[in-house]
């Protein structure tokens, strides 16, 4: 299996003295942290903050503002547990640098409802047992809020596109306007939110119920 790449081969198993440093590019000097001032609205309240430029929105919410509903499941944009809404659109707070959010409005799961006055989706999640350990749940719910809005705005998913703009169907006008959310749609649109407990069927049922209620309201 081994071939000769170069001197660093020794890191890959050849015995000998090696220096390990996670940072192979080697920082000569350690630059000091950089601070930045900004104003951000979270769940309707404005905060004036000085943040480290490296700070993610997720860390700002959790460590600075005490809003621990958004969860750090991977910190790499691969699980969806940190999903929040910025100006109503779902985004990943782990990959969002807080410094870039001056004057922006963020909504977290805490801003959607309270245990005594839950959001309809929150209530539906409980009723359909759309959660087990609950760790991915705030992200699932924020994502579902975003999904309902996206469908109402007529934003397609891969399923929509395949179903309604058949390949080669150039003569067909593309559907615009609100899109119905069937099961295939919900599964595809919610696939950025992983759930290891496997609560997907309950999540589907909860969102489908909220979607039906929303369509009824329109």
């Amino acid at each position: 299996m081994r071939e000769s790449w170069d001197s660093r081969e020794r890191i890959a198993g050849r015995a000998g003295r090696v220096t390990g440093q996670a940072n192979t590019s080697g920082d000569a000097a350690a630059p000091p942290p950089v601070g930045a001032d900004l104003r951000i609205s979270v769940n309707g309240a404005w905060h004036a903050l000085t943040v480290d430029t490296r700070e993610s929105l997720l860390d700002t919410l959790r460590d600075r503002l005490g809003l621990t509903g958004a969860k750090k499941g991977c910190d790499h944009g691969q699980c969806g547990a940190c999903t929040v809404l910025i100006d109503g659109r779902r985004v990943l707070s782990c990959l969002t640098l807080t410094v870039s959010l001056d004057d922006e409005s963020v909504t977290t799961v805490e801003g959607l409802g309270l245990p005594g006055a839950p959001h309809p989706l929150q209530r539906a999640f409980v009723e359909h047992d759309a959660l087990q350990c609950g760790f991915c749940t705030p992200g699932q719910i924020c994502s579902a809020v975003g999904v309902l809005a996206e469908a109402a705005e007529g934003r397609p998913s891969l399923v929509t596109h395949r179903d309604r703009a058949h390949p080669g169907g150039s003569a067909e006008p593309v559907i615009t306007g609100a899109l119905p959310l069937d099961e295939e749609e919900i599964r595809e649109r919610m696939s950025g939110n992983l759930c290891r407990c496997g609560a997907y069927p309950g999540i589907l049922a909860a969102i489908a119920e909220a979607a039906r209620a929303g369509e009824g309201a329109r």
Binding site: D52, T53, G77, R89, S100, G146, E150, R155, H161, A165
Partner: protein
């Protein structure tokens, strides 16, 4: 993450001026850059946030194409009615990529400049010629199940991860860039580089150059097009192989076609040989297979990714057959 200075200029000129120093990178959606900074793969000293300088609008060009601002979010591009009707392969490629959240964040410019997801590249404790030139390529003799089969080099076997770029290569999009030396336009294919002996450079852009827009040509052919992505997980997963294809058939004969492959090479791969073989040929499954085989003759699979050859072949045939409605 290494501490960095952050600037948010208001104009392209200011952004380009600020990008003149050492260790400066542009920040747009951040979905890949922030991730790579957290991994220590990228350690910029300065970020120039370009979300206020690049256009987030989509305009029709006089020639009948579309000019897409580099700041357009992936989800906005794919929701645009003209993109959906005139360029279905692009809409589908975008929708097949990432997740709803990521598409809301990622921009057109950033999507083009994504880095490879090769696991050695992402792990700074291991050698990688792309990340650390001259350190070696452990993927070549290690885990390369999902890496390149075409035009890889002894120095790098990485693939480009973007779905959108595959569609843009098929369309022959024009990338508008601006740098200290002025503005220029880079055609696709042509933006991305093959690894050769310098895999550290993914594109032909020079340091400080900023993608400002992507121009989609008027291409009536593209109205009949699709993007097919094969992957192990049903969603939220990079491609094993993908194909973007457009086909124009007249009286049973291929008048014109566009074919591009994703996840087979260091660049989004325009299957020019297959296209050449098909123009003027009967629109039959046999001809589609023949064209695919001609394209894939140049494949040099590695020990663990030979499956990509039949996969790419089958995807090409399937895409064309679906477009020609011959199956």
């Amino acid at each position: 993450m290494r501490p960095f200075a952050y600037h948010r200029p208001e104009t392209v000129a200011a952004a380009v001026a600020q990008a003149g120093g050492a260790d400066v990178m542009y920040l747009a959606g951040g979905t890949n850059l922030v991730d790579l900074m957290r991994l220590g793969v990228l350690t910029p000293a300065t970020l120039v946030d370009v979300t206020r300088v690049t256009s987030a609008t989509i305009e029709q060009t006089p020639g009948g194409g579309l000019l897409v601002g580099a700041g357009v979010r992936n989800s906005d591009l794919t929701a645009h009615p003209l993109v959906r009707s005139r360029y279905p392969l692009l809409a589908e490629a975008l929708l097949a990529g990432a997740s709803g959240q990521l598409r809301n964040m990622a921009t057109v410019g950033g999507n083009l400049l994504q880095r490879t997801r090769c696991s050695y590249f992402q792990d700074v404790t291991k050698p990688c010629n792309k990340r650390d030139p001259g350190s070696g390529c452990p993927a070549r003799t290690g885990d390369h199940r999902n890496l390149a089969i075409i035009e890889h080099s002894e120095h790098c076997v990485a693939t480009h991860p973007s779905d959108m770029a595959v569609a843009l290569v098929a369309l022959g999009a024009l990338v508008h860039v601006e740098g200290a030396a002025g503005a220029r336009q880079v055609p696709m294919p042509g933006l991305h580089r093959l690894p050769g002996d310098d895999p550290s450079r993914d594109t032909v852009l020079v340091p400080g150059e900023l993608i400002t827009a992507v121009e989609l040509p008027a291409l009536p052919l593209a109205a009949r097009s699709l993007y097919r992505k094969a992957r192990d997980r049903a969603s939220f997963s990079f491609a094993a192989v993908s194909v973007a294809a457009a086909l124009q058939v007249e009286q049973g004969v291929v008048r014109d076609c566009r074919i591009a492959l994703g996840s087979v090479a260091h660049v989004p791969w325009r299957a020019g040989r297959a296209e050449d073989a098909l123009r003027g040929a009967p629109a039959t499954e046999q001809e589609f297979a023949r064209a695919a085989d001609i394209e894939l003759e140049q494949a040099r699979p590695l020990p663990l990714n030979g499956y990509k050859v039949p996969l790419a072949r089958n995807l090409i045939v399937r895409a064309l057959a679906d477009l020609a409605a011959v199956r």
